[in-house]
């Protein structure tokens, strides 16, 4: 892969990031309502002090450049609502939780998806193909906010085998990560099956078969590397989807992750937290897409970026 390509990709990210910062900043500041709007009228003196403390009394362009300057120093500012905490602290507490949830979900998605897709491709048009592929249609069409509550209803409330909320023990991890990973497991299984089916008709697979290799061995040793390519290129969108899906999952299961903070602060008009988390999300998704594109080159030598 060319170094020029890498530099080009990163160079594109910078202006895009700046535009995103500007758009989000403008959207938040030009919208009606402020962070200190409460049911109770705040005395004007206090309001003035509050505005001065958070530099809300300065002209907008000054605030904008102040924010950019802080951003360059990785300082996302104080939270307006959680008075003693900075956005950096909030993110520091909640990001690991979200990352853990996302990673477990991704592992589920890959494990279940690759296994199911492999099984389906091993004996196409039999029950071991139809059953996982039918379930996967369910997984693709059912949104997380339907799957999650249904899982809670069945495993948490009727069977009472798994906890339905919180983030303490390992049992707490099961339902949320399954909820989040299921749709991607479903998609990956279909991509995996499709990829393997395409590879199966290649000459080098026929050669392997002619050598007398067993079918499962052909699948694992020869077909997998080529067949997994569609799955890899789906990883970028899948990661983005898992990050977005976490908003709902964390809300349903009451998990103290980034997604819940984003929604909560959006509803509270906590400007700085909204900005900070939104920017973090954008960055994460950019970086994920970038890494996946690079990974692709290593798996498929035919791909070259210019």
């Amino acid at each position: 892969m060319g170094l020029r390509y890498l530099i080009g990709r990163i160079a594109v990210m910078v202006p895009v990031f700046l535009i995103v910062v500007t758009v989000v900043f403008a959207m938040i500041r030009f919208a009606p309502g402020g962070p200190f709007d409460t049911e109770r009228q705040i005395p004007p003196d206090i309001m003035k002090n509050l505005n001065a403390k958070y530099h809300l009394d300065e002209p907008l362009w000054k605030q904008y450049f102040r924010y950019l300057n802080d951003l360059a120093h990785f300082d996302l500012g104080p939270s307006f609502k959680h008075s003693n905490r900075t956005v950096n602290e909030i993110i520091g507490d909640s990001l690991p939780v979200s990352a853990e949830l996302g990673l477990i979900s991704l592992v589920w998605a890959l494990l279940i998806g690759i296994t199911a897709g492999g099984l389906a491709a091993l004996k196409p048009n039999t029950w071991s193909d139809y059953v996982p592929m039918s379930i996967s249609i369910l997984g693709i069409c059912l949104p997380t906010f339907v799957i999650g509550p249904l899982l809670i209803l069945v495993f948490g409330l009727w069977l009472r085998v798994l906890p339905v909320a919180g983030w303490n023990s390992w049992q707490d991890r099961i339902l949320p990560s399954l909820t989040l990973g299921f749709a991607y497991a479903a998609y990956i299984s279909r991509l995996m099956r499709g990829g393997l089916m395409e590879i199966r008709s290649q000459d080098y697979i026929r050669t392997a078969r002619a050598k007398g290799l067993s079918e499962p061995k052909i699948l694992v040793k020869h077909a997998l590397r080529g067949g997994i390519l569609p799955v890899v290129s789906f990883l970028g969108p899948a990661l983005a989807g898992i990050i977005t899906g976490a908003l709902v999952t964390e809300t349903i299961f009451n998990i103290p992750g980034l997604g819940r903070f984003f929604i909560e602060s959006a509803l509270n008009r906590d400007y700085t937290v909204v900005m900070g988390t939104a920017l973090l999300y954008f960055t994460l998704i950019f970086v994920c897409n970038f890494l996946v594109d690079i990974l692709y080159v290593f798996l498929d030598p035919r791909v070259k970026y210019e």
Binding site: V16, A31, P32, G33, C141, F145, S233, F234, A278, F282
Partner: protein, 312 residues
């Protein structure tokens, strides 16, 4: 190169529909089966797609006729009969405020379908215009316009929509315009591919040589001839918009009380599911069935219109 996610439609140039090039009816008969007739024949054979189609027709009729069908009004409360399980008087039971769930599900369906359709129309208009202009002009402009699309692909728009909804009020018109604007990218790519494959065809050259201006060529010749894939992708856009709307409503950022979309109803159902699981199950089932139907119909249409590009 950005990963454009799931390639929903292979960019293979589909042949221009025969009907567009054959002017008279007699000639049509001579030509035998047109692409559209052939496509419909294939579609009718696809049982899942037809099942989805009939369900959607049924649902649309019910949603249009809701004000006459619904046994109660959507905000009529009856605090003596709260959280009633399904019965003959309340087919789907009642909610925390004693409102009839069946009625609310019908009205919710209206909103969900409306947002789905209107937002998809927004996305089609933007996507088709952008894609066809880009493809028709070609060259450096095309390259630049498509690069822009590539960059936008990498942005998680749903966050922008959330911020928009939070700060500018939960206005339903804003909602479907915002959702529509998140969905036009793939449409633009599809249309661009179509236009590029069509613009060197004889009938376009004929139009050019007769001095037809560019915008007329785009709107009279190129866009009508790329309708097939556009329709396919449209049927796949509607469910994803419905899903996005439900997602926002579920988080409390979509349609506001006392109106409700399916997403709001599911969200309310989750809160009450321990005592009244039907509040969750009915709206969730209807939402899922509609999403299934739309996806099956979309897949069926795609297979019918593009028999060569059969997926996996």
């Amino acid at each position: 190169m950005s990963s454009d996610g799931i390639s929903l439609y292979p960019p293979t140039p589909a042949p221009a529909p025969a009907s567009a090039m054959v002017p008279s009816e007699d000639a049509m008969e001579e030509a035998g089966v047109s692409l559209w007739q052939d496509a419909f024949r294939r579609l009718f054979k696809n049982r899942l797609a037809m099942g989805g189609f009939f369900f959607l027709v049924f649902l649309t009729l019910v949603c249009i006729l809701t004000p006459w069908i619904a046994p109660y009004s959507f905000d009529q409360q009856n605090l003596q009969y709260t959280l009633q399980p399904p019965s003959w008087t309340h087919w789907m039971g009642t909610d925390v405020l004693g409102r009839d769930l069946f009625t609310r599900v019908l009205y919710g369906g209206r909103i969900s379908m409306l947002v789905g359709i209107l937002a998809s129309i927004v996305s089609v208009i933007v996507g088709v215009v952008y894609g066809s202009v880009s493809g028709f002009i070609g060259g450096r402009t095309d390259n630049l316009m498509m690069r822009f699309v590539d960059i936008l692909y990498a942005l998680p728009f749903i966050f922008l929509v959330i911020i928009l909804m939070v700060y500018f009020g939960r206005n339903i018109f804003l909602l479907f315009i915002a959702l529509g604007l998140t969905q036009w990218l793939t449409m633009a790519r599809i249309v661009r591919g179509q236009v590029i494959s069509l613009k060197h065809k004889e009938f376009v050259q004929a139009a050019e040589s007769m001095g037809v201006p560019a915008h007329s060529i785009i709107f009279r010749h190129l866009i009508p001839n790329s309708l097939g894939p556009v329709i396919v992708y449209l049927t796949l856009t509607v469910p994803s918009v419905i899903l996005d709307e439900a997602f926002l409503s579920f988080l409390g950022l979509g349609v506001q009380a006392p109106m409700a979309s399916w997403g709001t109803l599911i969200s309310n159902g989750v809160e009450a599911m321990e005592v009244a699981p039907w509040l969750l199950i009915f709206p969730a089932t209807l939402l899922s069935l509609s999403l299934f139907s739309l996806n099956f119909l979309g897949d069926g249409l795609r297979d019918a219109l593009d028999p060569k590009g059969a997926r996996d």
